[in-house]
Amino acid sequence: MLGLTSRDFTLFAIVCALTLLAPIILNPFPTGSALGASFNAGYPALMQRFAIFGILVVGFNILFGLTGYLSFGHAAFLGVGSYAAVWMFKLLSYNIVPAIVLSIIVAGLFSVVIGYVSLRRSGIYFSILTLAFAQMCYALAYSVFTPLTNGETGLQVYTSDPQVLMSPGDPVVPHLFGLQMNTAEVVRVGPWTWTFEVGYYLCAIMLIAAFYLSIRIFRSPFGMMLRAIKSNQTRMNYTGLNSRPYTLAAFIISGMYAGLAGGLLAAMDPLTGAERMYWTASGEIVVMAILGGVGTLIGPVVGSGIIKYLENIVSKINENILHQWFAALPDGLENVLIGVVHPFVGEGWHLTLGLLFMVVVIFLPGGLVEGGQRVGAMFSRKSRNASGVEADAAAQNPNTPAE
């Protein structure tokens, strides 16, 4: 269906269902309960981030996962995408369509230039070149380009901005032809509260489209060429294929994905700053891709979702919450447990992230998706062994005469 194999279609359908039902799925605990306050993630601001960073990492995976070129400067495209979108808000109106279109185009143009230069080298040299370009963008945004970026204050929309397409009655928040992004439908069922927000659904639909496109690219001859480049560039060239345009195309596509993500970030909240382009932001993209599983279809969505969830949830936990959790335990044990857990939550979130990252790279180089597949394979082998021993034995001795 939709030009996908049944396996891929199932995967796609699962992603569609998860993203569209996220406001329900991510609020498993009743609103107002202690667990709900700590672990529910079904509020719009966070769900938007899931979807936007999902798009970003799905795009990054087209480059890193397929070609093996590790870009350490991908956040630059996110940043320029955001700036482009905010400028559209400033110059035209709060309609998000021109903003998002321009953010994709501008990120695309940046990636043409940066990719054309960086892809002349491979391996760590490529990583350093992309890092250097991203750091240059970051530094320039704070210095020479302050008229364009508004420097450290960050770029935002002022009432004095031209906004030439604004008519008097138009909304003063980002909107899609009048449909405001922050419009939300709140549904209460029993103790649960679910918020369905326009902004989130815009991001969700974009994520679904981006994911669909990435499946098509993975399964296309183009995707096969990219995997071939990762596998053996020498053979690629001696097979009459020019690897440069292939890698450049992959770089531009993934840059445009990042531009889309940047545009959406601005559409959800119309301000931006250069810190979005700092190299730790690029590092975070890499972490998400690795955690989920590089080169797999679903990995980027899983990885970005988990990181953003943990970031929001873990960093919210403080000592009081820990005391609530462990209140049932004897005092001594409670204090010991809190002492153990406390460094890893709240402000210690980055410590958890770093450890998680190391554990994944050390023990699960293929990321969580591969880990899941391995566990799955282990179980299916066990069940087959249990039920199919006789069948296997028969298959091994086809010549044994039946009695």
């Binding site: 590790l70 530094a139 450890l355 190391m358 790279v361 050390i362």
Partner: protein, 343 residues
């Protein structure tokens, strides 16, 4: 002319730090074949050794001072550092003032231990893994190390002054025959430069004149052959990692008076040091040192107002710009060899 000399001097201290970090990175890459993204964190840990030394020396106990009285006429209770009580007022105070140079004594064992733990516990398992995996796991390690430091010392920079003897500025211009006040330069930065030069010379001498160093150099030239000679390369690798960690740590400790240690300084220096390594040529020790000073000095020049007037913002990007140009025109860097990191 005097302005140019001043800028060269201004570039020297940063250049020294880049050179020392890049030297360690190159040693690790050349011998172990590992791309170590946690090297900046080692620099940062070194800087915090200086902070720790200062805190250790100023550990105090309360002493009732009979000679002083508070406004009620009672003897005054004052905090007195233990070193003052042990070594006497004068020597104790001197020790405290000299805590940054003294911290080098702390850096050596601490960094050897940290380096040993990292190499045996983590890096060892990554010799045969792809460079991307090495980058990623050491990147994770760098985050962990910097977060541990943040948990221990907080997020704010901690001032670590240089000894009073070196804390002022010196008017170098008068020595060189320029006008007075033309070239005024902080003394500690000069000290830092000479310190780095000594460390660099020591590392090169070690590699040049000891059997151990000879094996290491052979290993950098051709890892596989040395492995085949049956030399116990493992122990030497561990030691090399420890040595690189000590170099980075000393660079960090002595840098503390120039830049107040903060938990993310390692990452900031790492990115630039990596650019330095790549510009110098992956795997070339002289290249790393030369590129470190070169880029530091270029950054100094780019910060001149005359330059910034012509090319605004150039001081922010000059290092990256040079890196891009060099990588495109000389793919192996200034002094890189064929066949290093090319697949």
């Amino acid at each position: 002319m005097d302005a140019i000399i001043l800028q060269i001097l201004n570039g020297l201290d940063k250049g020294s730090a880049y050179a020392l970090i890049a030297l360690g990175l190159t040693l690790i890459f050349g011998t172990l074949g590992v791309v170590n993204f946690a090297h900046g964190a080692l620099f940062m840990i070194g800087a915090f050794c200086a902070v720790t030394m200062q805190r250790l020396l100023t550990l105090s106990h309360v002493v009732v001072d009979e000679s002083q009285t508070d406004f009620l006429g009672n003897p005054l209770a004052v905090n007195v550092p233990y070193v003052n009580s042990i070594f006497g007022e004068e020597l104790g105070q001197a020790l405290i003032n000299w805590s940054v140079p003294l911290s080098v004594l702390l850096v050596i064992p601490v960094m050897l231990l940290v380096g040993w733990a990292i190499e045996r516990g983590l890096i060892k398992h990554f010799y045969k893994r792809p460079h991307a995996d090495q980058i990623l796991v050491t990147f994770g390690l760098a985050i962990v190390l910097q977060e541990i430091i943040r948990a221990m010392y907080g997020a704010n920079p901690i001032q670590s002054p240089a000894p009073p003897l070196f804390s002022g500025s010196v008017d170098l211009g008068t020595y060189l025959g320029f006008q007075a006040n033309a070239i005024v330069y902080p003394i500690w930065r000069l000290v830092y430069f000479f310190f780095s030069a000594i460390i660099i010379a020591a590392v090169f001498a070690f590699l040049q004149f000891t059997t151990f160093g000879m094996v290491v150099r052979a290993g950098m030239a051709d890892r596989e052959t040395v492995g085949m000679l049956g030399i116990d390369i493992d122990k030497r690798f561990t030691f090399m990692f420890g040595l690189a960690a000590v170099v980075a740590g000393m660079a960090g400790a002595m840098y503390a008076p120039i830049l107040s240690p903060n938990y993310h300084m390692g990452m900031d220096f790492l990115v630039l040091s990596f650019v330095v390594v790549v510009v110098g040529g992956m795997g070339s020790l002289p290249g790393a040192v030369a590129a470190g000073f070169l880029l530091g000095i270029l950054q100094g020049f780019a910060s001149m107002n005359e330059v910034k007037a012509v090319l605004p913002g150039i001081d922010q990007i000059v290092i990256y710009l040079v890196a891009i140009i060099i990588l495109l025109t000389r793919p192996r860097g200034l002094m890189g060899r064929r066949g290093v990191m090319e697949d």
